[in-house]
Symmetry: C2
Subunit: 296 residues, 2 copies
């Protein structure tokens, strides 16, 4: 498993932190060579060949806030924060377009989407309610109220997502919003005051009533809807009895290795297995299940 095979990871843009810290260096990059990521609200604009479309800074609205994504071939790459009220719900055809992007483009888009979405939702200071403005190339927002002066930083939300194993079977669940017959790994946000391992144990017990032991980290994925860090883990359960939290899940049950293998083969081809439909290749749960199948 290489990193680049996990969707939304593997961007080739150099984040160039030293540029963010220097207003002069940043201003020096905002020239005719700079590239502006084509966005329609939060959705990507695609070129004719299906890659991300890039324009120039002249394409941005004159008052648009610009996020410095980093350097590519010594050119500054930027994305414009959508105007207030212009952020539409995700386009249902979004996934189709994303499926055509190269892994590197997908990662660049995901990171940019999280950033401009965060700016669009953080125009005001959570501490005092006054307006904030973009700073450090978009890696900070500053409160405009001199009596407050709070600094705010882009947010990343750690989420645990876990394969729980018992006697060569895996516990999966389905949320009400899933297509019929589809199941995926249980997941939940890490809360203040707990470790990744504690969050895995708490969420598995909350959602399915199953106690786990021996939690191990497997892999992770940045997920740009809006800005999660999906932390993929594996754990064992001694007692397979399931008690479902019906507020969270429609169902949760155990699938055998043969059922998972069949579902993963089907998912690779965009279809559904005999026992259940597995998560698509975009999702880290797909990679976790593949990891488990290959691990044998």
């Amino acid at each position: 498993m290489t990193l680049a095979t996990i969707a939304f990871s593997g961007s080739r843009i150099d984040r160039a932190d030293h540029i963010r810290q220097s207003p002069e260096a940043l201003a020096g990059l905002m020239n005719h060579r700079a590239r502006l990521l084509g966005l329609n609200g939060l959705d990507p604009v695609l070129a004719d060949d299906g890659s991300l479309a890039w324009g120039s800074l002249a394409d941005a609205a004159p008052d648009a806030e610009l996020v410095f994504l980093g350097l590519s071939d010594e050119r500054g790459c930027f994305a414009a924060v959508p105007a207030a009220g212009s952020v539409a719900p995700p386009n249902p055809r979004l996934w189709q377009g994303l499926g055509a992007l190269s892994p590197e483009d997908l990662a660049t888009y995901g990171g940019a989407r999280s950033m401009v979405d965060w700016h669009a939702r953080h125009r005001f200071c959570a501490r005092c309610g006054n307006a904030t403005s973009l700073a450090k190339g978009g890696w900070q927002r500053n409160c405009s109220n001199d009596a407050c002066n709070a600094e705010h930083f882009p947010r990343v939300d750690p989420v645990t997502i876990m394969l729980v194993e018992h006697e060569n079977s895996i516990l999966l669940g389905r949320q009400p919003r899933f297509p019929a017959g589809n199941y995926s790994a249980l997941a939940g946000f890490v809360e203040p005051g707990e470790t990744i391992e504690e969050a895995v144990a708490r969420e598995t017990f909350e959602e399915a009533g199953v106690r786990v032991r021996d939690v191990t980290y497997v892999m992770c994925q940045p997920w740009p809807f809006p800005s999660s860090l999906m932390i993929g883990c594996h754990a064992y359960a001694d007692d397979p009895a399931v008690t479902i939290d019906k507020n969270e899940l429609d169902d949760a049950c155990w699938f055998t290795r043969a059922q998972v293998e069949d579902a993963m083969r089907a998912a690779q081809a965009g279809g559904r297995g005999e026992a259940f439909g597995a998560p698509p290749p975009f999702a880290v749960a797909h990679h976790l299940l593949n990891w488990w199948v290959r691990r044998g």
Copy 2:
């Protein structure tokens, strides 16, 4: 390494998510049996035996917002959000008091501190600037503006902290604020659009100019100042040449296994090794270094 040995993890309070979701269940717990965590601003109030002091809900200011920490012995445990403007800078004697707490008390306090601090800094809606109010026992804040109605959730910031190894030596750095001669693991926030492994590689190169490979997860720690998730990793470097980012670090250099072993023995006794002063047992960097020493 058991989880409970890492400071701020291992709380025994049951977070009881189902109670947060039910206004009736929550109201039913807010009775004379409920416990209120003793806080002086964000600092803990300690009982005569050095444990956390608990009072009753009657001890809270009449208009205080209350965070539901969870259940202990079927009693609701709460913490009050400090009044606006009452949050003082950390008391320099804070660490002394924390050092006397049991691991379970330390974890309970850390989680509570992160939560009430988040509430105190999020009284307004980042999307529209209007006032927010506490909801779901403190696990959410809701915007009061009907045209916005944004929901806000407590924040956890993932941070990578890494031991980089080259030929049986470890790369450590010192920030200007460290006591003279002290070194610790390099660290930095995970950004939108990158994996844990990518963040480790980026931060190590930014801060010390060192390229890494084979990043692996080792352990993590919730860090309540204000609410980080410290994700401890190990990586290898092939080229030990160091180029220090002087904006971030005073120094960064390699320490041999013998030097690290000596510093860890000294740190355990509260002292400094021959070559450098190691991070104290509160810090996950301390546990990472111990893990590396024991791994041999």
